[in-house]
């Protein structure tokens, strides 16, 4: 069963994402900041990451950059979730190697579809 890592510092958002992913049939791991996210990627070996940008400590961009710098995670599907709706930030996220960039608030159905499609694409 595919495993999704949910990274966000808002407990209620983590709660909703966790429920959505479980309902869609995935295992879920959660992290509240960048350090915990990096640790979870190493420990839990998720198949996909939902990554918030505004995190305490190291930001979501930093986490993305570090993961992409590691060959082991170069192709790990990562979806950025952010409350920053500005185009420059979206471009920055894509340039850093995010697979998608979803602005909050989002359609739960669209998010679940996106996660599913990325996971079935993967070999």
């Amino acid at each position: 069963m595919a495993k999704v890592l949910v990274v966000d510092d808002e407990p209620n958002i983590v709660l909703s994402l966790e429920f959505l992913m479980q309902q869609a049939g995935f295992d879920v791991a959660t992290a509240e900041d960048g350090e915990a996210a990096l640790a979870s990627v190493a420990d839990d070996a998720p198949d996909l990451v939902l990554l918030d940008i505004s995190l305490p400590g190291i930001s979501g961009f930093d986490v993305l950059e570090r993961l992409r710098a590691d060959p082991a995670h170069a192709r790990l599907p990562i979806i950025m979730l952010t409350a920053h709706g500005r185009e420059v930030e979206r471009e920055k996220g894509m340039a850093l190697g995010a697979d998608d960039y979803i602005t909050k608030p989002f359609s739960t159905q669209a998010l679940v579809d996106k996660v599913k499609s990325l996971l079935t694409e993967a070999p």
């Binding site: 909703s16 309902q23 505004s54 989002f106």
Partner: protein
Amino acid sequence: MRHDLVVLTVAFGYLALLFVIAAWGDRRAEQGRSLIGSPTVYALSIAVYCTAWTFYGSVGRAAQHGPSFLLIYLGPTLAMLLSPFVVRKMVRIAGAQRITSIADFISARYGKSAGLGALVALIALVGITPYIALQLKAITLSHAVLVDYPAPPALRLAAAPFWADKSFWVALVLAAFIILFGTRHLDASERHEGMVAAIAFESLVKLAAFLSVGVFTVFVLFNGPGDLLARVAATPELAGAMSLETVPGGALGWVGMLVLAFLAFLTLPRQFQVLVVENVDERHITRASWLFPLYLLAINLFVIPIALAGLLLGTGGDPDSVVLTLPLASGLDGLPLLVFIGGLSAATGMMIVETIALSTMVSNQLVMPLLLRFGRLPRATRRGLAGRLLAIRRVAIVLILLMGYLYHALVGDAYSLVTIGLVSFAAACQFAPAMLIGLYWRGANRLGAALGMTAGILLWAWTLLIPGFAQSGWLDAGFLADGPFGLDWLRPYALFGLEGWDIYTHSLLWSLTANMGLLVGVSLFTRQGPLEQTQAALFTEAMHPRLAQASLWQGQTSRGELRALLDRYLGAAATARVFADRTAEDDDQPAPAALIAHAEQALAGALGNASARVLIDSVVRGEALDLEAILGILDTTSETLEMNRRLEQKSRELAHTSEELRAANERLRELDRLKDEFVAMVSHELRTPLTSIRSFAEILRDSPDLPEDKRARFLDVVVRESQRLSRLIEEILDLARLESGRLALSPRRLDLVELARHSVEAVQRLQEERGIALDVAIEVDDAPVIGDPDRLEQVIINLLDNAGKFAADEAPRVKLCLVRHKAHYRLSVEDNGPGIAPEERERVFEKFHQIERSDDTPARGRPRGSGLGLPISRGIVAHLGGRLWVEDAPSLGGACLVMELPEAPADKETPAEPATS
């Protein structure tokens, strides 16, 4: 008696040496390695001022009139000190306008007037010829003294046929020299480098010769200056010889002589030639302005000792010959010969330069205009006229020297050297008003200059020249004493009853007064023509850095016609130079204005400005002068300075304004950036609760079979996040009102103690739920302040909330204190959390600043702040005249926020009444 043959051999040998030097100078100039490109050579060439008159006459005048001879050298000294201003301007103009002589200069200044140029040339001829004669006389006299001594010199002037007169041959040799080195180029505005080199050499020779006699007199004839002065003091009749009272005319005589020498130094044709026309570099003027006065000092150093020695030793004969007779009396051979050569050099130097200057004037200001006017120049000469022009100048040279010789032979006996010199000086001074006033006053016009100069020269003739003739026996001298036709007030030496003046000062006063008066008066009441206005502007504004000779022609002519004109007057080579960079164009094409201007300049250099203008006029059709261009120049000259000043002021103001605008723009951009940032922050803060609300709403909608506990929990999230959203919107609105100053506060007198207790009650239940221990320490009975109770309560609750959020996890504690501090009340809220680092303490008041706790883990069930509470609190407190800041918690060790409000003034009407109850 010396061998005449030896003397003649040495003399002509010396002249031959001059030829060699001049030829060398010209050769070097052609090779581009100029001999005269040095300020020292320039200063030495100016010393052509010191003629035979200086060489022999100074001693003579000192012997007769004491130290007054010095004035003749103080005038030029003064003029040279001013030369960096006056002469520099003249040089600048002469360069721009291709000026060839002082006559050309004055003619050009007054609208290239041919008439005025001719007048100056005539005055110069009449006034200066005696001066040339004087040089010949000096040569003849010194030669006779040298050969005949100790017998009195036998001049045999009128008695002998002219071929037996050596001065005639001297004149002819000089004519040959001048023709060779003075008329090499047609373009008279080009430098005569060989001639100038020879003149500078002559200045060295005459100085060396004079200093030799001086040293010989003081240190050989006497035992140094002390001995000489002691001997003079012991001779009663000589005691007062060098006192200042011996100057003719007294104090007025001093002034008159000084002015005379000052003006003549600038206006004598030869001085104008070396100072202005032959100047190769404006910068040389600076060095010459002190070097030349130094030369004058050196050559005058021994005048008084020699004069006194002559008087003491009584060499006899003419006082003008003392320089020569003093060494002769001592039986020397070599020194008298050296002195003779020195005198010869002084005389020939003057004659060479003066003759070149005069011949240029004669050809360009007298002959050429006449030939042009009466059409005596065949228009279609194949050979061209360049050679003919040079021939005219050469004939003029010979004629001028012959006139000098004739004057010398016929009149010369009657006058002393100095007298002839001063008469010439006074004539040259008549050019000064037109030249100097014209240099600085743009209004001076041609009619004024012409009338002034005419009146001046007539008065000069009446008060100096004619009496001179009378005194030499040519006229009945009766009118001197009684006036013509018995008219007493017309007596030449006491005009209009002005008696008792020295004759030169007297003449100068009348002639210059009339000259200047007419120049200024007539100019004020008559108008200038357009060309006159232009030239006046070009002269007076010559130092203006941006003023270049503008192309004023707008008439039409073909290149071919222009080329033919130049060909005829300048020859093929000079024409080719003018057309040099334009050879590619077709001769049938119309000539551009710049080319016409260039052609006129080239013609002016050869023919003078007036003739050049006439010739250009003859080929250019249509309205020749571009009146608009002239008006343009007039505008850009007189008004330019004022305009520049105003423009500078305006541009300073503009620079200041634009700096202010730049700063304002900078502030606006900063504000705009902050606003963008604020909007981004707000949107970010709103999206977070909105995300939870939408997500859970969709989950609840899409999952009908959700277990009841989950459904309740999710609905609770939706409700709490909605409340958070409302609170956030409320805060954002508060902040916006605060910043725009529209926050509605209703301040009134209230008791802070009461309010604090009220606030504590409001948060107590929640704090207790979270296990926070809340202490209250109110140390005053009441605390009257002015404030809005609702807003202040909002502030206090916010402080208590924050403290609760940041208190330690284990046994969290919060403490509220209220104390009086001077005329204020201080309400502080502290916690036992990790505290706030000093560098963070101001940042917590920034909008959306989230305080990060090092040990923070947000999932602890404490709601995150929006980051707006503290900025809003600070804004409210500031509105009420108080302060809000962070410090170390005094008792609990965490952070401490302190609010300070001023004590309300004692209320007279109502005693402190509880604000809220």
